[in-house]
């Protein structure tokens, strides 16, 4: 074991480069390229602020991903709890000193980037729980104590994010955490019981929701209720996607976005614009790229020797999947509008940063897939 340990740490830079997952890197690169084109389109076919900013972020974070991948997975295992705690500190910081935008206090202004800690927490929670379940004996997975501890790990950031308020991100954090619990071996019946409990308590939860959140749910149930008000986004999004048809209206020819009918086209509704311009075919291609990314991550998890790497990869793959599904379901009118970005595609530094860090750790797991962790 020690030998193997030494063996791994002795990997040269060249060896590491050779061991990178090039299919994954290529897919991410392709996705970045597409996202740049779409951002260019949101700027009305000119290289303006969003395109430039998105490009800079892509370059910086892509390099960051590569840098992260060259660190041994052990280091990420070692620092998991610290990253989680750092995330918590940032969340608490935000709740006191955060930048407030349209009623929500989610951001820290770091001058070169406006950071959204809740986005980082999406990775932090996976890292933390992966480490926790890596160390937990399988037989103890269903003990009361371990379940309480792991639920607390989820609930603390969840409550902090909910208080911002940010329903979308908190749901994503909760789901990212729960998947690790599931993978870690928590009994199926607990999931079923808690799901039933959740359904029963749903009316109470709803009564705690802020008025705008209730409105979103009502609007989701019936977008035509107030077509120029709350239902506007969902209706316009569906019109844009539906009018795209099989082949789309063509690059830079999406009338819905070009003529400003689409709200938030840079961020949450980026897929709408893409789908309007590139149609069903383009959308399927995009989904295929995402699927390849997810499959590659799962594959890396599957070949990883350490359970930490496995748990992280599987958890992260699921998280990416959930981000995509929630975002697409939202813009397709299948879910209420909760505000969740599409990974890499959406404009927004924190989300991209978190995703790229995740990719970086996955890549590190790939390079060091034979690494055992005590």
């Amino acid at each position: 074991m020690f030998q193997q340990d030494r063996l791994n740490s002795e990997l040269t830079f060249i060896q590491k480069v050779k061991k990178l997952d090039y299919i994954l890197i290529f897919s991410i690169f392709l996705l970045s390229l597409i996202s740049l084109l779409v951002m260019y389109s949101t700027d009305g076919g000119e290289i303006l602020y969003h395109t430039k900013s998105h490009f800079v972020k892509l370059v910086v974070f892509f390099l960051l991903m590569l840098a992260i991948s060259f660190f041994n997975i052990k280091i990420w295992h070692f620092s998991s709890y610290y990253i989680y705690i750092a995330g918590l500190i940032l969340l608490i910081w935000v709740s006191f000193y955060g930048v407030k935008v349209s009623g929500s206090q989610r951001w820290i202004d770091l001058y070169f980037i406006v950071l959204q800690p809740s986005e980082l927490m999406k990775i932090g929670i996976i890292l933390c729980l992966a480490k926790y379940y890596h160390r937990l004996k399988l037989d103890n997975a269903n003990s009361f104590l371990s379940i309480v501890i792991s639920l607390s790990i989820i609930l603390i950031p969840l409550i902090l994010v909910l208080a911002q308020p940010d329903l979308g991100t908190s749901i994503l954090i909760a789901l990212s955490g729960l998947i690790i619990l599931w993978l870690g071996g928590v009994k199926v019946k607990y999931f079923i019981f808690s799901f039933i409990t959740f359904l029963i308590s749903l009316p109470f939860i709803i009564s705690f929701l802020k008025p705008y959140q209730k409105l979103r749910i009502l609007t989701f149930l019936d977008p035509d209720r107030d077509p120029l008000g709350a239902g506007y986004q969902i209706i316009q999004s569906k019109i844009a996607i539906g009018s795209g048809g099989l082949q789309g209206k063509g690059f830079l020819k999406g009338t819905q976005s070009y003529l400003d009918f689409l709200p938030e086209k840079h961020t949450d509704f980026i897929f709408t614009l893409f789908s309007e311009e590139f149609g069903f075919i383009g959308s399927i291609v995009l989904l295929i790229i995402y699927t390849i990314i997810i499959i590659r991550i799962i594959r890396i998890g599957a070949i990883s020797r350490s359970n930490f790497a496995k748990l992280f990869c599987f958890g992260f793959a699921f998280a990416i999947f959930i981000y995509i599904v929630v975002n697409l379901a939202m813009v397709l009118g299948l879910l209420p509008i909760v505000g969740s970005p599409l990974p890499i595609m959406s404009y927004g530094g924190s989300s991209m940063l978190a995703t790229m860090i995740g990719f970086g750790i996955v890549m590190s797991a790939k390079i060091n897939h034979k690494q055992m962790i005590a």
């Binding site: 399988l138 844009a240 048809g245 009338t255 799962i298 599904v325």
Partner: protein, 640 residues
């Protein structure tokens, strides 16, 4: 090893559970793809339409009205290019500066400025404000000269209604103007095609034929953004001009009528005795309809409204007058037809007639002596007609009068302000006044006074139907798709062929029992104009080409008191309001008649002095233009 084992066991759990999750993922992805498919493939059309609805906005432009032309094709209501000045607020750099510049350049009133500022607040910044609807050419040039200094100002060329003959056709055509809300709601076509700035017919044929004249909107399609701002023009769909409508009127004659009635209140109508075509229809005084196009000024409006000669009333069809002696041909005809009298029947006129203690005066105080029908008509002896109508009775007279079109609307379908007038009978009085008929009333009805009320157009038609030999005609003012030629109409009447309702000569029918009786009336009317002592003898034309036959009328507007009768005042000595109306009906040429006319001059004094001389001047022109008219091909037949 044990640790190794549990680790592997744990890895197994993780892998197995990952497998379950992956299966779930595939299902969810399939769901997303299914949704994409349903939106983009299945419902693509629906959403494409919605997307176009979002981005494409149509701007309707005002339609171009159809022209109205006279019988010879001269445009009497057309369209003119006008120059307008628009401001597009979003292109204006300094609004206050611009307004003050425009104010000095165009001499805009403060009121107008306030209106513009108010409009600016109401409209979107890219909607244009109309500063001036009708710039003069020099103003337009001035603006163009200073355009470099007037950012946001747009000189625009557009089309407006125009009446080249000004007041000549006002009462026939009416005019167009901005509609009010009710007028838009009342007409479905207007409602559909309405755009701000559009004008609709307010009166006359412009109003009645609105749906034919209106035309269709040109449509400009623009791509707009979510805020409604125009981004690109997509296409321009040309509108169709409204139907061209050809009237039966002759502008030369119409203008002459205007000249002849200048300064007087009255009316002239001229009709083709065979086809019923209205050759002229003039109500005096008239006013310039062009004044109403861009909103008439208060001053001008008050001037028209307060004119004592009442220019706003179309006297030809809405003016109701006692026919006076012009009714006598009908009274005589009725008596002949009912075998009450014959040509040898004579009455001794002593200047008055006593009936149940009431005295009925003839206009000639000394009396006419023994008069026969011919002499009575010629000299318009009242006593003779008192006696004839006494013998005839009002009910029989009423039947003949109504047959000839009295008490009925003449051009009902074209003018909504036409009055139907009244020709009384005993039943009418019983029903409407609740009293029995008094014989004395029959006497005054027989000389065209009393309850009888006629429009000048009715008198014209009545005369035309006597002139054509006693056949009913259907007067019309529009050349329709199926015009009856003069020859056809004449021939059918002369051959006494009667057509049924399916035939081309719809409505033509015999109005007499014995054709001889019509002839007698025609001869009597001839003598009245062309023989010595005839009431309109002075206005005769001897040349057989123009020779006409007529009957004068002088309608009292109030009862003449004994004192007044004794005073026998000159016209100028009587207050305007109390003067008699002067009437004259005539047709010509006497041999082979073609046209009938009726003339009325309100408070003009006697028919022979005031009205008949007008006919003399007109007949020459009418008959001279007859050949021209006959040569005019039916160049366009328009479906109405």
């Amino acid at each position: 090893m044990i640790k190794e084992n549990t680790n592997i066991r744990k890895a197994d759990v993780i892998n197995r559970r990952m497998f379950i999750i992956s299966a779930a993922k595939i299902i969810v992805f399939a769901g997303i793809i299914g949704r994409l498919f349903s939106l983009q493939i299945n419902e693509n059309k629906k959403y494409l339409t919605l997307s176009d609805k979002n981005r494409i906005r149509e701007w309707k432009l005002p339609p171009t009205r159809g022209n109205i032309v006279d019988y010879f094709g001269n445009i009497i209501a057309g369209n003119l290019k006008v120059y307008q000045l628009h401001i597009i607020p979003e292109q204006v750099e300094n609004f206050n500066y611009l307004i003050s510049r425009l104010k000095t350049l165009l001499q805009l009133s403060n009121k107008r400025i306030d209106k513009i500022i108010k409009l600016k607040k109401k409209l979107k910044p890219w909607d244009s404000i109309i500063v001036s609807e009708n710039l003069s050419w020099s103003e337009f040039l001035k603006i163009n000269n200073y355009l470099y200094d007037l950012a946001g100002v747009k000189p625009v060329m557009t089309i407006s209604r125009n009446y080249p003959f000004k007041d000549a056709y006002t009462h026939v055509l009416g005019y167009v103007s901005q509609p009010n809300e009710q007028e838009i709601l009342d007409n479905e076509t207007v409602q559909q095609r309405f755009v701000p700035g559009m004008k609709i017919g307010k009166l006359g044929l412009e109003k009645t034929l609105e749906n034919h004249l209106i035309g269709t909107n040109a449509i400009q399609r623009y791509e707009v953004n979510a805020y409604g701002k125009r981004i690109n023009q997509l296409e321009h769909q040309k509108g169709e001009q409204g139907s061209k409508i050809r009237l039966t009127v002759d502008t030369e004659i119409q203008k002459e009528c205007g000249k002849l009635l200048d300064g007087k209140a009255g009316s002239i109508s001229i009709m083709d005795v065979y086809t019923g075509d209205i050759i002229a229809m003039y109500s005096s005084p008239s006013y310039d309809p062009n004044l109403f196009l861009f909103g008439i000024s208060q001053e001008e409006w008050q001037l028209i409204r307060n004119n004592p000669l009442k220019p706003l009333i179309n006297k030809t069809i809405s003016g109701l007058y006692s026919p006076g002696s012009t009714i006598k041909p009908i009274v005589a005809l009725s008596a002949l037809e009912n075998n009450v009298i014959d040509t040898k029947f004579k009455v001794k006129c002593t200047g008055k007639m006593e009936l149940y203690g009431q005295t009925f005066h003839c206009w000639k105080e000394k009396g006419h002596g023994w008069v026969s029908l011919k002499n009575a008509m010629k000299q318009s002896c009242d006593t003779y007609f008192y006696e004839v109508s006494r013998l005839l009775g009002v009910d029989r007279l009423n039947i003949t009068a109504e047959k000839f079109g009295l008490g009925k609307k003449v051009l009902d379908q074209y003018f909504d302000n036409e009055k139907k007038g009244l020709f009384p009978n005993t039943k009418w009085k019983k029903n409407n006044l609740g009293k029995g008929w008094v014989l004395g009333e029959t006497l005054i009805t027989g000389i065209g006074q009393g309850y009888t009320q006629t429009t000048p157009l009715q008198l014209c038609m009545m005369t035309a139907q006597i002139a054509n030999g006693g056949y009913a005609i259907k007067p019309k003012i529009i050349v329709d798709s199926n015009p009856i030629s003069y020859e056809d109409a004449k021939q059918s009447m002369n051959s006494q062929l009667l057509f049924n309702s399916e035939s081309k000569l719809l409505g033509d029918k015999k109005l007499f029992k014995d054709k001889k009786n019509i002839k007698i009336i025609q001869e009597a009317m001839f003598s009245s104009t062309n023989e010595r002592f005839g009431t309109s003898y002075k206005s005769r034309i001897d040349d057989p080409k123009y020779q006409f036959a007529g009957k004068t009328g002088t309608a009292q507007v109030k009862r003449i008191s004994k004192r007044e009768r004794e005073l026998d005042l000159e016209l100028e000595q009587i207050p305007y309001k109390d003067r008699d109306h002067a009437l004259y009906v005539a047709y010509g040429p006497y041999i082979n008649p073609r046209y009938a006319l009726s003339i009325i001059v309100e408070h003009g004094g006697s028919g022979s002095k005031t009205a008949a001389p007008i006919a003399k001047k007109l007949f020459k022109l009418i008959i001279d233009r007859h050949d021209l008219r006959n040569k005019q091909p039916n160049f366009e037949r328009i479906n109405i």
